[in-house]
C-alpha cells in the first residue's frame, strides 16, 4: 500500500542484477580510496593506543586507572555496558524486525549486525581487563576443575558470562549464516584467484540449489528466533549486575526494561552515526534511503521516551520510598560533585531526542547525525552516572570518595573505538555491507507486486 509521500524502501529502477552489482562493486571494483585509507589509518592508530593501554594495564595492574574504594568500578564497566548496549540495535534490526516483517530493515541489517558483533567484541574486552587478576578469568566459566569448584551461581557476573557469550555466539552465527549466500556471490564475481579461493572457503560450498535455499531460510529464521529474546535478555542480565546489588541508585527493579530500552536507544543512535556517513561515502543512498533514517529516528524517539520514563520512575520511587539513602542518592546526582554529568545526561537523552517529533528533523541526515552523536554521548554519560555516582556516596559517609579517570582510562576508552572502527573499516572493504540476498529478494518482490 502506498502512502503518497512515503519514500520507498529502495529507489525504483533496480533489479537483482543491478543490486548485486552495486553492492559487490564497493568491495571488488572500487579502488582503495584515500578516504578509506585515511579512516583506517586513524582507526588503526587508535587500536595501537588500545594495545599500549592494555599492555601497561597487564604489566602494572588495575591501579593505573582511577578506581578506588569506594568507587571500585569506573570507566571499564561503563564502557562495557555502553558497548553491549550499542550492540542491541543490530540484533533488534536483524532479528526482531525480520520476524515482524519490516522490509525496510533489509538494507541496514547486515551492517547493523556487523556493528553488533564489533561492539560485543569491544565490550567483551572490559570485563576481562577490569579483573584484578585477568589471567584467571576462566574461573568464571563453568568447567569441571581439579578442586571441584564451580562459579558462584548467585552472582550476576556469572550470569553476565552466560549472557554475553551467548549473545556473541548467536550474533556471530546469525551474521555468518546470513553472509553465506553473499559470500558465494562474492566468490562468483571476484576475479583474482586467491580472493576467489578465500571467499569460496568462507562460503562453505554454497551452490544456491533449492535445497540450500530451503535450509538457509530455515536456519536463518531459527537463528532470528534465537536472537530475538537476546535483545531483551542480554541487557536485562547486564542490568542485574547493578540491580542485584544493594547500592542505592543500583537497587532498582526498573533496571532491566530501562536498560534494554536504553540499549536499543543507544544502539540506534550508533547505527545512525555510522550509516549516515557510510551511505554518503559509498553512494548507497538508493538502498539506505531517507525512510530508513526516519524509521531509525522514530525508534530512537520511542526508546528515548522509555528511557526518560525510567529516569522519572527512579526519581519518583526515590521520593516515594522515603528511604534516606535513596533520597540522598537522587539529590546528590542532581546537585552533588557529579551534577554536570547528570545535567548533560538529561540534556542529551531527554531533551535532545524530543526534536525527533518533527518530521523535518527526522528526514535531515545532517541534523540526525549530530543528534545521534549527542545521544551516544548521553548514553555513555548515563552509564557513568549510574556506576560512579551511586558508588561514590552510599551508606557510610565516612567511606564517601571521589572518582577521577586517569589518562589510562581515557586511552582504553578511545582505544576501544580504534578496535571498533578498524573492524568496521575492514568489514566495509572486504565484505558486502548490505545483504545482497535480501536486497535482491526485496527488489524482486517489489517488481512482482507492481506487476500484479
Amino acid at each position: 500500500m502506498n502512502v503518497p509521500d512515503e519514500t520507498p524502501v529502495v529507489a525504483p529502477g533496480y533489479d537483482s542484477g543491478s543490486v548485486t552489482r552495486k553492492i559487490t562493486d564497493v568491495v571488488l571494483a572500487r579502488p582503495l580510496g584515500r578516504g578509506w585509507l585515511a579512516g583506517f589509518a586513524f582507526a588503526f592508530a587508535l587500536l595501537m593506543l588500545l594495545n599500549f593501554a592494555i599492555g601497561w594495564l597487564l604489566i602494572r595492574g588495575v591501579g593505573i586507572w582511577g578506581i578506588n574504594i569506594p568507587v571500585a568500578w569506573g570507566f571499564a564497566i561503563v564502557n562495557f555496558v555502553w558497548w553491549i548496549g550499542i550492540g542491541h540495535a543490530g540484533t533488534f534490526i536483524s532479528a526482531i524486525l525480520l520476524l515482524l516483517h519490516q522490509d525496510w530493515r533489509t538494507s541496514i541489517n547486515r551492517f547493523a549486525e556487523a556493528m553488533t558483533l564489533f561492539a560485543v567484541a569491544c565490550a567483551g574486552l572490559f570485563p576481562l581487563l577490569h579483573l584484578g587478576r585477568p589471567w584467571v578469568f576462566y574461573w568464571l566459566l563453568p568447567y569441571p576443575d581439579t578442586m571441584g569448584l564451580w562459579p558462584q551461581w548467585r552472582s550476576p557476573l556469572v550470569w553476565d558470562v552466560f549472557a554475553v557469550s551467548t549473545y556473541a555466539t548467536v550474533s556471530l552465527m546469525f551474521w555468518y549464516v546470513g553472509l553465506i549466500p553473499d559470500l558465494a556471490t562474492m566468490r562468483d564475481r571476484s576475479a583474482p584467484r586467491p580472493l576467489q579461493f578465500i571467499y569460496g572457503v568462507m562460503a562453505l560450498g554454497w551452490r544456491g540449489s533449492a535445497r540450500h535455499w530451503k535450509r538457509f531460510k530455515m536456519a536463518y529464521l531459527l537463528l532470528a528466533g534465537l536472537a530475538t529474546p537476546l535483545v531483551l535478555s542480554v541487557h536485562s542480565v547486564v542490568s542485574l549486575d547493578f540491580a542485584v546489588a544493594i547500592v542505592p541508585g543500583w537497587h532498582s527493579t526498573i533496571f532491566p526494561p530501562y536498560f534494554v530500552a536504553g540499549a536499543i536507544f543507544s544502539g540506534f543512535a550508533m547505527v545512525l552515526t555510522l550509516l549516515i556517513p557510510v551511505r554518503k561515502a559509498y553512494g548507497l543512498q538508493d538502498f539506505i534511503t531517507i525512510r530508513h533514517l526516519e524509521n531509525c529516528a522514530k525508534i530512537m524517539l520511542a526508546t528515548g521516551l522509555m528511557v526518560a520514563h525510567g529516569y522519572i520512575t527512579e526519581m519518583f520511587m526515590s521520593w516515594y520510598s522515603d528511604d534516606k539513602f535513596d533520597i540522598y542518592m537522587t539529590l546528590n546526582r542532581m546537585f552533588g560533585p557529579y551534577a554536570p554529568a547528570w545535567w548533560l545526561l538529561m540534556f542529551c537523552n531527554v531533551l535532545v531526542p524530543q526534536a525527533l517529533w518533527f518530521k523535518s528533523i527526522r528526514t535531515n541526515p545532517a541534523i540526525l547525525f549530530v543528534l545521534a552523536l549527542l545521544v551516544n554521548v548521553g548514553m555513555w554519560t548515563e552509564r557513568y552516572v549510574i556506576v560512579v555516582t551511586s558508588l561514590h556516596r552510599d551508606f557510610m559517609p565516612s567511606a564517601w570518595g571521589i572518582y577521577h579517570p586517569t589518562r589510562w582510562d581515557w586511552m582504553t576508552l578511545i582505544g576501544s573505538f580504534g578496535l571498533f572502527l578498524s573492524l568496521l573499516f575492514l568489514f566495509l572493504r572486504l565484505l558486502p555491507a548490505i545483504s545482497i540476498t535480501e536486497m535482491s529478494k526485496l527488489v524482486r518482490d517489489k517488481k512482482e507486486s507492481r506487476q500484479q
Binding site: 602494572r60 595492574g61 569506594p70 577490569h130 574461573w139 552472582s155 557476573l157 542485584v244 565516612s398
Partner: protein, 936 residues
C-alpha cells in the same frame, strides 16, 4: 629460644687480632704451593683451619641467656611463636611490651599486662617500633667524616680523648642526651661525671614538660577538668589513663558510677573528644580561665558550674593543666589534686639546653657526645643549634639514622635499636623494666651503654654485662640469678615503682602574652616529635580529626578561615617571631578561633626516603621561651595550593545514625531509647530462607563507643599483625589506603564546637553478607563459626564484593603493593607475620577477625583436649586497645564478655536495617551532663 649470643666481633669484622692468630697457628702457605704433596697438605691444613675457625676458642664470651615470657627456651617449636618481655621508651619513659618472636625474629609488639604503663595495651608508637627495627635506612656503619670506619678506630680515638680528659678533669667534654630514665645509663653517666668532674651532661627533649606532672588516679576521680592537657592523648601515661578513664564510663546497669569530664583546649584532642563538655579557647583565654579558677575571681559563666562540680567533689576531682599555663595556676592544681596523686613524676635530669648553647657559644666545649635524639632538627630555632654546632671541634654521635644531627657530626656510630640491645628503663611511676634484645643487632649497632662504657675506659664489656652488673649491684644476695630471670620473665622489676629520681625543675616561664593570632605547637599524633618520620606505618596512619596522612597542616577554625578567606589546602606563610614558614591550611571544626595549631615533626631533610620532604618544619618557628606557642602570628595568603591525602573526606553523619549517643540520665530512664533509634533491623523470622543455626562457636565482636578514645592503635596493630602494605601518599589520595580497620571520625553540631565521635569500623562479618552473594568465583565464603572468609587465591578481582559492602571495609590490591618502595626492601621480609598470607596484586582483602589467632588457639585447645576459654582469642585490635573498647569472643556462650556486651540495651548493629545481621556490633556512647551546666 636459646640465644647463645656469641659476640665474636673478631670473626665478624676480620680484625687484625684474628688474622694474627691465624697466622701464628698456620704460617703463610704460599711457599709450599709448588709441589703436589704440599698442595694436598695445604688443603688439609686449610680444611682444619676452617673447621677450627668456627670455634674461635681464643676469647671466651659470656653465655647470654634471654628469658622468654611464656615458655622456657627448650620448648621452641618451629611455627609456634615465643613471647619475650621488654620495654620501649617514649621520651625516656618505659612502656612494657611483649614481643612475639618467630624463629628468632620479632614480628609483633603487644603490651605487657604486668606492666603499669601498658596494662597489656599499646600505643601507636610501640606498635610502629617493630617497623623501625627493620628500617632498611638505619645507620649501618661507623662513619668518620665521609669515610666508613670501625668501632675499633673509634675506640682508639676515645683512648686519646680520655688522656686529655684525665689531665683537665674533662673540662671540654659534654654529653647531650634526651630524657633518660634508664637506671643503668644514669649510673654510667654518674660514674663518668665522677671521673671527670668538669664534664657536664645536658638534656634536651623537645616534648618535655616544663615541670612533669605527678601521676594521678584518674579512675578514682569523679570530676576531671582538663585545661590544655591531653591526658588521653599520646604520651607515656596514655595507656594507663585511658584504661582508668574508660573504667568509669562503662554502662553496666549502674554498677559503675560515671565520671564527668570537662575540657578546655585550643585544638581538638582525644581528651576533648571524650569530654562531656568541651570549650574551644586559645592559649590566652585558657590562661585567663586558669587564673580565674585558681583565684575564683571573674570566672566565665560556663566556668561557674565547673568549679562548683569540682568543689563538690573535692578530694575526688582532678584539675589537669597543660604546659602553657602559668606556674601559679599549676601550683593551685597540684594542691587540688594531691589526694589523688599516686606517683611522683620522674623529672627531666641533667642541665638544660640553654646552658649548653651558652657553653657552645663561649667555645668551652671540645668534645661533644650526642646520644640519640636529633637536636639539629628539633631544638628551638632561636638556639641556632645546627649553625653553632660547628664551634665544637669534635662531635660524636650515636644515632639510629644518618639524620640532621649526624650530618653535622664527624663520628657517627650506628645505634642499636631498643629491640636488639640490653638496657633498662623506668615507667612514669618508676617501675623498672630490664629490656632484653629480641634479635642480634641487624646492622652491627652499639647501645648507649656500650658507648658509655667505652667512654669510661671499658670497651670490652657488652651491653648484657653492663646491665647485669648494675642490677647485681642493686640486688645484693645469693638469689640474683632468680631475681634476674624473674624480672626478665615478667617484664617488670618487682618493687621498683616510685624509684629514685633526682628532682630538677627547669625554670618555668609563662607563655608570652600579646595580641593577634596565636600559634600553638603540638606533637604530631602519628610521628611524635619527628623521630618516627621515616616510619611508613605512622606516616600513613590517619591523624585523628583531620584524617590527614603523610603531611602536617596549619589547623584553623572555620570562623577564622572565613574571616581570612582561607579554604582547605590553601598555602599560607606563617610569620612568627621574625621567622617564616610556608604551610598548607586545614579547617578543623572545634579549633579555637584566632588560634593556629601546627604539628611538630615534619619537614625533615635527613629522615630517609620515607620521611624526607613530608610536611613543613614547624620547629623553625619554635622558640625556647615559649615552646608550646605564643601570640604574634601573622598569616599571609600565597595563592598556592597543596593537596592533602586524607582517608575520610566526609565527617558528618548526614542524619544517619552510625554513632548513637545519649545521656546517662536518658539511659537510666529508658535503657533502649539511646541505641534503638532509626529504622529497626528486620526480625530473625522476616526471611524466606531457612535461618542457619550456628551451633558450636559463633565468633562476634562488640565495640564500646563509650570507651574508644580514637587513638588509632587498632589500625596500626592490625597493620602489623596482618602484613598490610603501606601504599604511599599518592595512593592514599586516590582512596586506596589498605587499613583493614579504620577509625571513623564524625563532627556533630555547630562547627565552632562540635561533638566529636569516633567509630572503629572493622569487617562486620555479616551473617547475611552482601559481599558473599555477588562474588562470581566464590572467593568470599562464610565459615560455620560465622566468619566471613576471604580466599585470596581464588579471588579474580572483580571488586563486586567491595561495591556491595555497605560498610566499605574491603580493601583491594590495585597495584603490586608488596613491591612498592615502602615494602620491597628485603629486610622487611623478616618483619612479616608468617601466619598471614602476603597478598599479591588484584586480590581483595579485609579484616578476618584475626583468623590466624583463632586457629592457633583452637589447635592449642584441641591438643590439650579442652574448650576454648573466653578471652583466650584476642584479635590484634582488641589486644592493643588501651580502653578495652573492642571485645571479641563466642556469642553462643552467654557468660562470655562479648555476649554480655551484646546483651546490653546500648548494643546496636551498624546499618542493621539492611538486614546484613552484622556480628560486629557497637555499644552506644553515653555522656554525663551536669544538670547545673545545662542551665547556662
Amino acid at each position: 629460644m636459646n640465644m647463645n649470643t656469641w659476640r665474636s666481633t673478631d670473626e665478624l669484622e676480620d680484625r687484625p687480632a684474628f688474622r694474627d692468630w691465624l697466622q701464628r697457628e698456620f704460617p703463610p702457605l704460599a711457599s709450599e704451593w709448588t709441589n703436589e704433596a704440599s698442595r694436598r697438605s695445604f688443603l688439609k691444613i686449610m680444611g682444619a683451619s676452617f673447621a677450627l675457625a668456627g670455634l674461635n676458642a681464643c676469647t671466651r664470651q659470656a653465655l647470654e641467656k634471654v628469658v622468654p615470657y611464656v615458655r622456657q627456651p627448650e620448648d621452641l617449636v618451629p611455627g609456634q611463636p615465643l613471647y619475650f618481655a621488654s620495654a620501649l621508651n617514649l621520651e625516656g619513659y618505659a612502656r612494657g611490651i611483649l614481643v612475639e618472636s618467630h624463629e628468632g625474629r620479632p614480628t609483633k609488639i603487644e603490651g605487657n599486662p604486668e606492666h603499669p604503663a601498658s596494662l597489656g595495651a599499646s600505643d601507636v608508637f610501640m606498635q610502629a617500633e617493630i617497623l623501625a627495627l627493620y628500617d632498611p635506612e638505619r645507620s649501618k656503619s661507623v662513619m668518620n667524616g665521609l669515610e666508613v670506619s670501625t668501632w675499633d678506630e673509634f675506640l682508639a680515638l676515645v683512648v686519646q680523648e680520655r688522656e686529655k680528659w684525665k689531665s683537665n678533669g674533662g673540662i671540654g667534654l659534654r654529653l647531650l642526651t634526651g630524657h633518660i630514665t634508664s637506671p643503668t645509663l644514669l649510673s654510667q653517666i654518674e660514674v663518668l661525671l665522677q671521673e671527670f668532674p668538669n664534664a657536664k651532661w645536658h638534656v634536651h627533649e623537645p616534648l618535655a614538660t616544663k615541670a612533669p606532672q605527678p601521676i594521678y588516679d584518674v579512675g578514682k576521680a569523679e570530676v576531671i577538668l582538663a585545661v590544655e592537657n591531653d591526658f588521653l592523648g599520646p604520651g607515656p601515661a596514655q595507656l594507663k589513663y585511658a584504661r582508668d578513664f574508660a573504667s568509669r564510663r562503662r554502662a553496666d546497669s549502674g554498677a559503675t558510677k560515671f565520671n564527668r569530664l570537662y575540657v578546655a583546649e585550643s585544638t581538638p584532642s582525644m581528651t576533648g573528644a571524650r569530654a562531656d563538655y568541651r570549650y574551644a579557647l586559645g592559649p590566652r583565654a585558657l590562661q585567663e580561665f586558669g587564673t580565674a579558677l585558681a583565684t575564683e575571681a571573674s570566672l566565665p559563666s560556663w566556668g561557674v558550674p565547673i568549679l562548683a562540680d569540682l568543689t563538690r567533689n573535692k578530694g575526688r576531682s582532678l584539675i589537669l593543666l597543660g604546659d602553657s599555663l602559668s606556674e601559679e595556676v599549676r601550683q593551685f592544681a597540684r594542691n587540688w589534686n594531691r589526694p589523688l596523686q599516686i606517683a611522683q613524676p620522674l623529672p627531666s635530669n641533667g642541665d638544660s639546653l640553654s646552658e649548653f648553647m651558652q657553653h657552645v657559644e663561649a667555645g668551652k666545649i671540645e668534645t661533644l657526645v650526642i646520644l640519640g635524639g636529633n637536636p639539629a632538627y628539633d631544638t628551638p630555632m632561636d638556639f641556632k643549634f645546627a649553625e653553632k654546632l660547628a664551634l665544637v671541634p669534635l662531635r660524636i654521635r650515636l644515632g639510629l639514622y644518618e639524620d640532621e644531627t649526624s650530618a653535622l657530626c664527624q663520628w657517627r656510630l650506628p645505634e642499636a635499636h631498643p629491640l636488639e640491645t640490653w638496657s633498662d628503663a623506668r615507667a612514669f611511676d618508676g617501675t623498672a623494666t630490664i629490656m632484653q634484645p629480641l634479635i642480634e643487632p641487624l646492622y652491627g649497632g652499639k647501645s648507649a651503654h656500650e658507648l658509655m662504657a667505652a667512654l669510661a675506659g671499658n670497651a670490652v664489656v657488652s651491653g648484657y654485662e653492663i646491665v647485669r652488673q648494675y642490677w647485681h649491684a642493686q640486688h645484693a644476695g645469693d638469689d640474683f640469678e632468680k631475681y634476674w630471670r624473674k624480672s626478665l620473665h615478667d617484664g617488670v622489676v618487682a618493687g621498683s615503682a616510685g624509684g629514685k629520681s633526682s628532682p630538677f625543675a627547669p625554670s618555668v616561664r609563662a607563655a608570652a602574652s600579646g595580641s593577634g593570632l596565636e600559634l600553638v605547637f603540638r606533637p604530631s599524633p602519628s610521628i611524635r616529635d619527628g623521630r618516627f618520620a621515616n616510619n611508613a606505618w605512622l606516616q600513613e596512619l590517619p591523624q585523628p580529626f583531620t584524617k590527614i596522612t603523610w603531611d602536617n597542616s596549619a589547623l584553623i577554625s572555620p570562623a577564622t578561615a572565613k574571616r581570612l578567606h582561607l579554604s582547605n589546602e590553601d598555602v599560607v606563610d606563617l610569620k612568627y617571631r621574625g621567622r617564616l614558614v610556608r604551610a598548607p591550611v586545614w579547617i578543623l571544626p572545634g579549633q579555637a578561633d584566632d588560634c593556629v595549631t601546627v604539628h611538630l615533626g615534619y619537614g625533615r631533610t635527613h629522615a630517609g626516603r620515607v620521611g624526607n620532604g613530608v610536611g613543613f618544619d614547624a620547629y623553625a618557628l619554635r622558640t625556647s621561651d615559649a615552646p608550646w606557642g605564643g601570640s604574634g602570628l601573622e598569616i599571609v595568603k600565597t595563592g598556592l595550593r597543596h593537596p592533602f591525602a586524607t582517608t575520610q573526606h566526609h565527617q558528618s553523619m548526614e542524619g544517619r545514625d552510625q554513632v548513637r549517643v545519649g545521656t546517662l540520665a536518658e539511659f537510666q530512664q529508658h535503657p533502649a531509647a539511646v541505641a534503638q533509634v532509626g529504622e529497626p533491623a528486620p526480625g530473625g523470622d522476616e526471611t524466606l530462607y531457612v535461618p542457619i543455626a550456628y551451633k558450636g562457636h559463633a565468633w562476634g565482636m562488640a565495640i564500646d563507643l563509650g570507651a574508644c578514645i580514637g587513638c588509632n592503635v587498632c589500625t596500626i596493630a592490625c597493620q602489623a599483625e596482618n602484613n598490610i602494605p603501606v601504599v604511599g601518599k599518592e595512593e592514599v589520595a586516590r582512596g586506596r589506603e589498605m587499613h583493614w580497620i579504620r577509625v571513623d571520625n564524625y563532627f556533630e553540631g555547630a562547627p565552632e564546637n562540635p561533638r566529636i565521635h569516633f567509630q572503629p569500623v572493622p569487617c562486620m562479618h555479616c551473617e547475611n553478607a552482601p559481599c558473599e552473594l555477588v562474588c562470581p568465583v566464590g572467593a568470599t565464603a562464610h565459615s560455620s563459626e560465622g566468619l566471613n572468609q576471604m580466599v585470596y587465591n581464588r579471588c579474580v578481582g572483580t571488586r563486586y564484593c567491595s561495591n556491595n559492602c555497605p560498610y566499605k571495609v574491603r580493601r583491594f590490591n590495585f597495584l603490586e603493593y608488596d613491591r612498592n618502595p615502602f615494602e620491597s626492601a628485603p629486610v622487611l621480609k623478616l618483619l612479616r607475620n608468617p601466619d598471614v598470607t602476603v597478598r599479591t596484586r588484584g586480590v581483595m582483602e579485609k579484616c578476618t577477625y584475626c583468623v590466624q589467632r583463632i586457629n592457633r588457639v583452637r589447635i592449642e585447645a584441641e591438643k590439650q583436649n579442652r574448650p576454648i576459654r573466653d578471652g583466650e582469642i584476642i584479635p590484634a585490635c582488641a589486644q592493643a586497645c588501651p580502653a578495652e573498647a573492642i571485645v571479641f569472643g563466642d556469642i553462643n556462650d552467654p557468660q562470655s564478655r562479648v555476649a554480655k556486651f551484646k546483651a546490653s540495651p546500648l548494643n546496636y548493629g551498624l546499618l542493621a536495617e539492611l538486614n546484613t545481621r552484622p556480628r560486629t556490633t557497637y555499644l552506644a556512647k553515653l555522656l554525663n551532663p551536669n544538670p547545673e551546666a545545662e542551665k547556662t
